[in-house]
């Protein structure tokens, strides 16, 4: 009976391997709760993947994650705090906030990818600044992180949006321009969908390389994902701005 129960409930609630001992009963402890006495364990400064006992992989089953989330939420819920002692109450609050952050980040495919890239040492702003300093020192040309053609497109579309907003301000309507922008938006959305597909491919590459790849191979996939998210940022902003300007 006991076996059956542990099968149906979350592995985070009744985990198999323990790494240290429970503060309360001294038994080997689990990540969030002691497997022997069930007491809440102190929060650890772990990354969100570790929090959910997941490997640093990008493909994950949203339904499983959601189930783990609700299960943990329930076990950490303040309503249960009558059962907890004071320390446990604090820990459960802290863990709940950790849990919420972790879940919000991991359930969203893009945020999950961005988060993993940060864990893997990607610091976009820092890298851009360093590249500029290098260009200044050496006189070499800094490579822009997004392709020039995309920058052109972003610039041109922004000009059109400005034109549309200006004519709207004057109380004029410009159905031709509005129609053109609608068409452009449809193209942008198509491109965004294409990027999602491309990203899925990199996810698969990454997950495979986590188990069996070299540092070098992983770095290559990592850089491809950074590159893709940069392009995606622009496209997403453009779609948003076009929608705003068109009053959608």
């Amino acid at each position: 009976m006991e076996n059956q129960e542990s099968k149906t409930s979350s592995s985070l609630i009744t985990p198999g391997d323990a790494t240290s001992t429970c503060w309360s009963c001294g038994d080997m402890r689990a990540a969030h709760f002691c497997s022997a006495c069930g007491k809440v364990q102190p929060p650890l400064p772990v990354d969100y993947f570790t929090f959910f006992a997941l490997p640093r992989k990008l493909n994950l089953d949203p339904a499983t994650l959601e189930k783990e989330f609700y299960e943990l939420s329930r076990h950490l819920h303040p309503d249960l705090s009558a059962r907890f002692d004071k320390r446990e109450q604090e820990w459960s609050m802290e863990k709940t906030s950790q849990l919420n952050d972790a879940y919000r980040t991991l359930k969203d495919p893009i945020r999950r990818t961005e988060y993993l890239l940060r864990l893997e040492g990607v610091e976009l702003e820092e890298q851009s600044k360093t590249a500029t300093e290098k260009a200044r020192a050496t006189g070499e040309v800094k490579k822009q992180v997004v392709p020039p053609a995309l920058l052109e497109e972003v610039f041109e579309l922004n000009l059109q949006l400005e034109e549309l907003r200006a004519s709207q301000k004057m109380g004029e309507s410009d159905p031709g321009l509005a129609r053109e922008l609608e068409n452009r938006k449809a193209e942008l959305e198509k491109k965004l969908a294409g990027l999602s597909e491309e990203l899925q491919g990199y996810w698969d590459d990454w997950d495979r390389l986590v188990d069996s790849g070299s540092e070098e191979d992983r770095r290559k996939v990592r850089d491809k994902m950074v590159d893709l998210l940069n392009r995606r940022n622009y496209l997403r902003n453009l779609v948003r701005d076009v929608n705003e300007a068109l009053g959608n």
């Binding site: 851009s128 800094k142 822009q144 920058l151 052109e152 972003v154 000009l159």
Partner: protein, 138 residues
Amino acid sequence: MAYSDKVLDHYSNPRNVGSLDKNSEDVGTGLVGAPECGDVMKLQIKVNPQTNVIEDAKFKTFGCGSAIASSSLATEWVKGKTVDEALQIKNTEIVKELSLPPVKIHCSVLAEDAIRAAIHDWKKKQGADKPVAVETGR
């Protein structure tokens, strides 16, 4: 976060907004972007071919107030400088002048990138214009 007075001044009264003929031999165009925030900045310079002095500069930036102020200030600073002098402008000087907070430092980086990109474009045009020396030694 509040903008500094200087940022507000450049933002509400930007200098040198506009464009120059990008096909002109004397004009260099730099188009750069900061994908983290979706900003895009175009900066153009018109260079006197005799003196290498930047006689005119224009910009157009789609982005936040700090990005607009940084590029506006950049056009003010490059005007009257030689190309080599303009290459000495550092993003940290823009940060200081506009009192940009740490989260807006990337705007100043973008402005420096734009200056460099514009000068590079102009230099490329000058190079292409002149006959290339070919080594013929045997």
